[in-house]
Assembly symmetry: D2
Homo-oligomer: 336 residues x 4
C-alpha cells in the first residue's frame, strides 16, 4: 500500500504528469506551529536546477488543504498538495511501447494490465519524493520538541567513487552517462530504547522506509558490510557509562533492534539514474525486437545529489513515529 | 510489534530460558498438507552442533497446537510451539549487572525498566529464529504451489573475508574470537509485478523482515553497493523478451519496487557473534566502573553459519504474502 | 486513525469550513472505468435541499486528482477532492466558548487542547460523509463486477416512529425540533464465506465502518434485538439447499461471522440532529455557567434522511474489501 | 484476521476439540504484576456448570508461556495457553454431513473447502472466548492503573424478555428450547477524548470487538434504538460543568466518536444458542434432502448467561488500547 507508520502515518498519491502529487499525514499531534514557509528550505534542497539535475522546473509550492488552522496543526489529518505545472507529457506518449531500461515501465505495464499512467513514470516517479519531504518537515518538528531535540542530517559520502561530489559528477559528464553514489544519514539526540525486537526493530522500520525511495539498492548500519570481516572483539562497542555511551559505534546506534543512546548512523547506495544520455538497448513491445534506445524527457544525471533531504525525511518520519509510540509505556516503573 | 505480514501474517513470542518459543501463522490457505516431518529438514539446518556453533543442544521438536487437522492446514491460525529444555539460566543470573557488549542487555533494561527476562537475552535471543524457520517451512509450501514453483535458496558467500567458510572459521578459532560473514539469498520462479511502488516495495518488505533477524546489519539488492561506482549504461539491465528477461541482473530482480521476472538476488552482512571468547570491557551497573568481562553461557563462534535457513524463511514469508496478495487483482484486463 | 480497509483502503481528510474535504482510495484494481459523471447520482442522493435538510448548498463536484488515467483506474491511489465553497464561518466564531450539546465541540476542545478547527464541527462534520459516498461509488463498481453482481441498497424504515418519512418529518416541523430515524441496508449477490471468524467477522467490519458515520448509535443484524426474546428453534434459519438458501433470514445473512449466501440485512438507528431549533442549555466555558443556547448555522432537521446513501457507501467499501481479499484463497481445493 | 488492537494487540488461535486454545497479547507494558491466580475469578465467571450452561467441564487453567518473568509482565508478548481436556469428538464425526442450523458448519465447509476442523465448531467455537477473557484480565489491570481507575462491569438485562434471568431460563427449560438475552456493559472513570473521529471512534472499535463474540447480533450505545423516536431536544445531553458531566446520558458516554467523561454505556443482544434441544430441519449434504435433526454434543441453553465476563473482556481490551494510545499526544499544550 501507499501508507506507512503506526501512530504518525503517511499516505502518498499522485503522478508525475497528472494534476499533482500529495500526502496525507495522520496522527500528528495538535498544537505544532506550521505554515507554508516551514516547508520551503527542505523543498529547495530537493529541487532540481543545480548541475547534474533535471532541467524540469516546478514551483513545488505546498498547499495545506486540511489539518492546519490558525497556523497550528489541529490533530486531524494534514493533506498537503503540490500541483504539477511544468509537464511535457508528449515526450512520453511516443515511447509507450519501448520500456525504458532500469525504469518501472515494463513491470508496471504487466502489473496494471496497461492501465497505468505511463507518462514520466506515473506514480512510480521520483516526483513522489516531494510530498515525502513535506511530511519529513512535520516529522522534524516533532523530533525537535524532544528533550534533547533529535537532529537528523544526511550528506553525500561519494559520487562515482569520488569523495568530492563535483569530481564524481565531472566523471559522469565526461562519460556522457549517469552515475551512482552513497549517502550517509546520522540522527543524534535519540533516547535509549526506541524500536522493538524483531519486526519493529529500528533497522527494520528505517530500511522499510528507505527502500521506498526510488533508486536506493542497499542500506547498512554502523560498520555495515565491513562487519563481515571483523572479529567480535573489534565490532562490539564497549559501554562506558550509564547513559549508554560507547567507545566506538560499529552498531550504528542500534542494538537488539533498539536505539542505544549513541548516534544512529546508516548509509545507502543510490543507483545511477536509469535515464542516461547514452544509447541503450531495450525491447520494443510492438515489434518484439530489441532495439537501440535513447532517453526522451528531462532527467537528473546523478539522482544521489537530491537524495539527502529525502533520506532525512523518511528517517524523521520513522523516528517521529517511534518517539510518539515510546510515550505510551508508562507502567514500566524502574525495578530493582 | 511482534507481528509481520498483511495476508500471511506471523506473530512470534517466547524467551530463551522461559518455557519455550513459538509462532502464530494467520492467513494460511486451507488444504496445504502439513505435518511435523515437514519441518525437520529446515530445523536441522538451523541447528547447532557443527564446528563454530553453540554446544547448547535442543530437541527443537515443533508441536502443532492449532490450525492443522487431518494433516492439512484448516485456514485457521496455526500455532507452533517449541519447548525449551536445555536451559542453564544460572549462567545469566550472575551477570545481571554487567551488560554484555553488543547484546541488548543494556537497552532492554532501560526500555523495560528492569522487568525484562534477562536470561540468555530473553525475548531478544536468536532462539526466536527457530519459530521463524518453522513459519518459513509453511511459506515455502505456498511458494511451491505457484506455476512455476517459487524456489528460495540462501548460502554463505564469505566468512571473515574467506570464500571458503571453513577457512574463515579457522581464522576465528585461531584468534579465539568470533567472526562475521555475508549470506546471499536467491529466489527464482517469481511472477512479474509482485510488490507495490513505495512502502510495499519488494525491497522494503524484504529488508523489513530481514532486519528482524538478530545480527544482520546491512542488505543490498543486485549490484548493491557496487552501484555507487557504476554508470547508468552499465547498471541498467536490458530487457530481452516479453517475459521480462534481462541481459544482466544488476537490479537483483526488482525494478520500481516490483519483481521483474528475473531471479531476486540480495545479500546480507552478519556481524560477528557478540559473545566472543575474548576478554572485553563493559560497564558494571552496580559499581559504575568499566571492568573486564568474559562471556558466560554457550554461544556460536560465527552466527552467520546458521543464518542461511533463517534468511530463506523470512524471504519465503514475505514472498508468500505477496503471492497471496497478488491473486486479488482481477479487474485488470489487458489494455491495448 | 482516519483510514480503513485491508486491501481496498480509504483515508479521509478535511474540515467543514476549511479549503475542502477529500479521500484517498488505495488498493483499487486497475482497469475500472471511472469518470466524474459516475459520482453524481450518489452525490445527488446525499445532497441537501429537500424538506428537512440544511439550506447550505454546495456544488459537491468531485475532482479526481490521481489514480485515474484515460477514464480508467490505474491501480495507483485515487485521490478525490471536494472544494468547500458555501461556508459561513462567522456563525461559528461567536459560539467558540459555548459547546453545542450533542456535538463534539467540547470533547474536541479537550482532546486537541484548543487547537481544533471548531468551525462547523471541523473534521467531525457530517460533510466528511461526502468523500465516503465518493469512495462508495468506486466500491460499488467493484461489487458490480462480481458474478452475480453484488447490489447494496439502503432505505429509511421509519422517521420519528412513522413508517412514512414525511409524517415523521411533519412531527418534527410541528414540534420545532429535530428527529431521529432507522435505516435498513440490504446487500444481495454475496458469495458464501466472506469474512473471518472473530475480529474480521462481517458484522465486526460493517459495524466498525457504520459507526464512523456521525449520528449512528446502534446496529443490528437480521432479527437483531428481537432475538433476545426468541427461542433457538425460532431463530435458527433452516438450510434448504446446497446454495445455502435458508427458509428464514433471522441471521441477516451472516453466520459465524461469515456471509452465508442469503441477503445481508442490517438496520441502524440515527439519532436526532444535535442542532435542533429548540432552545437548549449548555455550559458557557468562559462564564462557567449553564446558559440557554440557540443553534447558529444551517442544519438538517432529520439527518437520517441523508443517511441511506452514506450507509450504502460504507457497506460497499467493506464488501469490496472482502471480495478482493476472498480472491486470494486458491490452495483450498475441495476436500472429500 | 485473528488479531485486534493497535498498541495493545491480541491474536487468538485454537479449536474446540484440538490440543487447546490460546492468545498472544503484544504491546502490554512491562512491570504489571501478573500470575495465574489473577485469571481465576474471571475464568470462573465464564465457566459452565450453572443451570442452563453446558455440562462440558474443563479445568480452564491458564498457562503463561511467555512474557511474564518473576510474576511481572516483561514488555514482550504474553502467550497464554489453555489445554483442551474434556473433548468428546466422536459426537461430531457422525454429523459431518449435516450442517447444524445457526452454526458455522455449512459456511466454514464452503470457505475452507472441507479442510476445516469441524469438531464442535472448531475455530468458530465459543471456547475461543476463554483466551479473550484471559486477555481481558490483563487489560483490566492496565485500566486499573489509570487515575482514576477505569472500571468495566457487564450484567444481564434480560433473558427471554424477563428481567429476572432465572425466569427467562425457566421459560426455556419449560419449552425445551434455547433462549436469547440482552447484556449491558458500563465503563466508568474514562478520561475525556479517547478514540478518534470516524474509523477509530470508540463506538467503531467497541462494536468491532464485540461482534467478534459469537452469538452477538446487535449493539446500541446510550439511548440506542430508542433515539429513533426522540426529538433532538430530548436526546441531547446538556453539559453541566467543566468535567464534561451531562444531565442525562443518552449518548452513552460517546460524542463525535470520543469519550466525553460520562459513563460509557452500551447493550448487546445475544441470540438464543443455536444448539437447541428441539428437533429442527436442515440439509443433509450427502443425501441432498432436508431432514429432521437433533443436536449432538453438550451445549448451553442460554449462552447469554456466560456473555457478561466476555463482554467486559473485549471492552477492557479496546479501552486499554485507547488508554495506551492516548498517552502519546504530548505536544498538545492548552491553547487560549
Amino acid at each position: 500500500m501507499n501508507s506507512f507508520g503506526r501512530i504518525f502515518r503517511i499516505s502518498i498519491f499522485g503522478e508525475s504528469h497528472g494534476p499533482g502529487v500529495g500526502i496525507v499525514v495522520d496522527g500528528c499531534p495538535a498544537g505544532i506551529p506550521l505554515c507554508v514557509d516551514d516547508f520551503m528550505p527542505d523543498i529547495a534542497r530537493r529541487k532540481a536546477g543545480a548541475k547534474g539535475t533535471t532541467p524540469r522546473q516546478e514551483a513545488d509550492l505546498p498547499i495545506l488543504q486540511s489539518g492546519v488552522f490558525q497556523a497550528h496543526t489541529t490533530g486531524s489529518p494534514i493533506m498537503i498538495w503540490f500541483e504539477n505545472q511544468n509537464t511535457r507529457s508528449a515526450d512520453y506518449e511516443k515511447q509507450r511501447d519501448v520500456p525504458r531500461p532500469g525504469h518501472a515501465d515494463f513491470v508496471a505495464r504487466i502489473k496494471y494490465g496497461g492501465y497505468e499512467d505511463y507518462r514520466g513514470g506515473g506514480h512510480f516517479s521520483g516526483r513522489l519524493t516531494l510530498p515525502l519531504v513535506a511530511a519529513g518537515v512535520i516529522a522534524k518538528k516533532i523530533l525537535q520538541q524532544g528533550t534533547p531535540p533529535v537532529d537528523v542530517q544526511a550528506r553525500i559520502l561519494e559520487i562515482g567513487g569520488e569523495v568530492d561530489p563535483e569530481k564524481g559528477l565531472e566523471k559522469a559528464i565526461a562519460a556522457k552517462d549517469s552515475i551512482g553514489g552513497i549517502v550517509e544519514c546520522v540522527a543524534t539526540g535519540l533516547p535509549i530504547g526506541l524500536g522493538e525486537p524483531f519486526f519493529d526493530s529500528v533497522e527494520s522500520l528505517l530500511a522499510h522506509a528507505v527502500f521506498s525511495i526510488p533508486a536506493i539498492k542497499g542500506i547498512e548500519f554502523g560498520a555495515g558490510f565491513r562487519a563481515a570481516r571483523m572479529f567480535g572483539s573489534e565490532h562490539n562497542d564497549a559501554i562506558l557509562d550509564a547513559s549508554g555511551k560507547t567507545a566506538t559505534n560499529h552498531a550504528g546506534g542500534v542494538v537488539g533492534g533498539l536505539t542505544n543512546g549513541n548516534p544512529l548512523v546508516f548509509r545507502v547506495v543510490v543507483k545511477p539514474t536509469s535515464s542516461t544520455p547514452m544509447t541503450q538497448h531495450t525491447l520494443n513491445l510492438r515489434s518484439g525486437q530489441v532495439e537501440p534506445f535513447s532517453v526522451k524527457g528531462r532527467h537528473d544525471l546523478c539522482i544521489a545529489l537530491r537524495v539527502p533531504v529525502v533520506l532525512e525525511a523518511v528517517t524523521a518520519i520513522v523516528l517521529a513515529d517511534l518517539m510518539l509510540i515510546a510515550q505510551q509505556r508508562p507502567m514500566c516503573l524502574p525495578h530493582e
